[in-house]
């Protein structure tokens, strides 16, 4: 079963795999092609078709032209919002998670197992259980409808994942290494800086990719806690479909969808290996 021959059974395997691969790529291909067709062209035929001439203007309109509600600035401000939420929250949650993971796995302190157990429960607790408390907390702190509010939420909630990822990675570091450093008089921060961090790049890449993808793609908090010009791009896409429901602009909408999906797709293309490692690390605890 495991040698490279070209028996009929192997041709069948390639055929099936290729067919499924085509089906998996088809939605992406349809949107890419549509993003290059004019709205009129799509209206005459279907969403599925080859562009007659390349309508690059869809991208310009999607980026900075179309109107949602009363503002006509395209998707650009919402992309900026998403970036201003995702980048700080990713960096903060990864950094804090690395320190916390190091503390619970190698430094050890009274109650470390307990607090670690509770923190990881956050992976399972549905967002719906936190919606009302966050609403009240954001309102009382004046962070409702601000990007800062979403950064705070994603940082605190992200800790459940980042701590888990880093802790599971650091557990494999021999304790003797830490013990020796402590005997030499190195403290908490020095050990982290000199020993842990230099060993960390692989897990930090996994964590950053995971956090970036999840925060960028998040929708529920974005749509609940922000309105209008403060919304992240996922919420803006829904608002756009609603805004153009009467006169659909599928070419422009397709371009907007591509732009919105591009950051995470690029990261996936560049760091796919680490992305998959994050997926399986989250699953096999």
């Amino acid at each position: 079963m495991r040698e490279r021959t070209f028996a009929p059974s192997r041709i069948l395997i390639y055929l099936i795999v290729s067919l499924i691969a085509v089906a998996w790529l088809a939605p992406l291909a349809v949107v890419v092609l549509n993003s290059l067709r004019t709205n009129e062209e799509i209206a005459q035929g279907s969403m599925i078709g080859w562009p007659q001439h390349l309508a690059w203007s869809n991208y310009a309109t999607a980026w900075s032209g179309f109107c949602v509600a009363e503002t006509c600035a395209g998707i650009r401000p919402y992309m900026l919002n998403s970036a201003l939420i995702t980048i700080p929250a990713t960096i903060l949650s990864t950094l804090l998670g690395a320190v916390a993971g190091y503390a619970v796995s190698l430094w050890r302190f009274r109650g470390d197992n307990w607090i670690y157990g509770i923190v990881t429960l956050g992976i399972f607790l549905p967002q719906q259980m936190r919606l009302l408390p966050w609403t009240i907390v954001l309102r009382d702190t004046g962070l409702m409808n601000t990007l800062t509010g979403l950064v705070v939420i994603h940082t605190i909630q992200g800790l459940s994942f980042t701590t888990l990822f880093c802790r599971n990675y650091y557990v494999a570091i021999p304790h003797e290494l830490i013990r020796a450093a402590r005997i030499d008089g190195a403290g908490f921060f020095r050990i982290f800086w000199r020993i842990i961090l230099p060993l960390s790049p692989p897990i930090l890449v996994v964590t950053v990719i995971w956090q970036f993808t999840h925060i960028w793609n998040e929708f529920l908090y974005g749509v609940t806690f922000t309105t209008g010009q403060q919304q992240p791009v996922t919420a803006a896409l829904i608002a756009l479909s609603a805004a153009v429901a009467d006169i659909p602009q599928h070419g422009v909408q397709s371009a907007a969808v591509i732009i919105a999906a591009l950051p995470t797709l690029l990261i996936y293309l560049l760091g796919g290996r680490y992305f998959v490692r994050g997926l399986t690390a989250g699953a096999v605890k």
């Binding site: 998670g97 430094w107 009302l132 609940t224 996936y268």
Partner: protein, 307 residues
């Protein structure tokens, strides 16, 4: 295990404590923030579910009235029916798709890396994007049906998106497309870690490929299968974005799911008490899946230690 209290002679303990304050703060503040918000927010939502809160949270006690109101509502009943259908169909089909893909990719085929990337890329895209794109493809006047009509086969029908009875299957389709790759990745890792001696022994016994999979390889995958089922169920129970973008619960309320009911009660009808009750019910459904899983994992681990 013990906290590292410096016992160097000549240093008063109080001074030591102050010196190490930055360290304590760095360790405890993030962990406590995370743990405290999880516990406090859960209790807070549970508390709100027992109050008569509507537009704003108020104190008071209404017992289980919010729960009975939610449970009696048509919205919630349809959401539960849908969750049952969507959950089982999606989990089963994505499991089968993922397993088939993993087995096919495990045949030492050329271009495995490219193929794997293709099956996994939907996981990097947001559910809003997936839902929007599939809403176009499945829209009968716009997508696949329209294309087939334009090609001349005008009696072709594929209008599940606007069919009350079939609309929930559009969500199944999109969800399978989005997350079968996840099952594939886990199964593939499992297939790659099957004991080579086991395979060799079976080959010596003259087992063919089908027998090999049925008798030798697949039985080793069942712990992974359970993990995949639990994670996919967890996803199914909290599905929100995908439905919001694909059908928005429609046509009518035909594709309502619990997470949509929660959002609707909390932020569209301003019935905070009932919304909180629906959220707690969601948590209970989730626990019905996760607690047996946790117990199973515990038993597994105990066995591994004693073996």
């Amino acid at each position: 295990m013990t906290i590292a209290v410096s016992t160097r002679p000549g240093r008063p303990a109080a001074f030591d404590w102050v010196r190490r304050l930055p360290e304590y703060l760095t360790i405890w503040v993030p962990l406590l923030l995370s743990a405290a918000h999880l516990i406090a927010f859960t209790l807070w939502t549970i508390w709100i579910s027992f109050t008569p809160s509507t537009l704003v949270p108020v104190s008071g006690w209404v017992g289980l009235r919010n729960y009975s109101a939610v449970a009696a509502s048509r919205n919630w009943q349809i959401a539960l029916d849908n969750l049952l259908l969507f959950g089982s169909a999606f989990v089963l089909l994505s499991l089968v798709t993922g397993l088939v893909l993993a087995i096919l990719l495990d045949q030492r085929i050329r271009g495995e890396n490219v193929l794997r990337s293709i099956f996994l890329y939907p996981l990097a895209v947001s559910f809003v994007v997936t839902g929007t794109v599939w809403s176009w493809l499945l829209n009968p006047g716009l997508g696949i049906q329209k294309l087939v009509h334009d090609l001349g086969w005008t009696s072709f029908r594929f209008d599940w998106l606007i069919d009350r009875d079939m609309a929930i299957w559009t969500i199944v389709i999109a969800a399978i497309w989005q997350s079968s790759g996840f099952a594939m990745a886990l199964f593939l890792a499992g297939l790659r870690s099957v004991d080579a001696d086991l395979i060799k022994a079976a080959q010596i016994d003259g087992a063919g490929p089908v027998r090999m999979y049925r008798r030798v390889i697949l039985p080793t995958l069942w712990p992974i299968t359970i993990t995949v089922i639990v994670i996919q169920l967890q996803f199914a129970i909290s599905t929100f974005d995908l439905v919001r973008a694909l059908t928005n619960g429609g046509p009518g309320i035909a594709t309502q799911l619990p997470a949509l009911v929660v959002y609707d009660l909390m932020f569209q009808r301003s019935l905070l008490g009932r919304g909180a009750a629906a959220a707690v019910l969601m948590l209970l459904i989730l626990l019905a899946v996760l607690l047996p899983y946790a117990a199973w994992r515990y038993v597994q681990r105990r066995r591994a230690i004693h073996a």
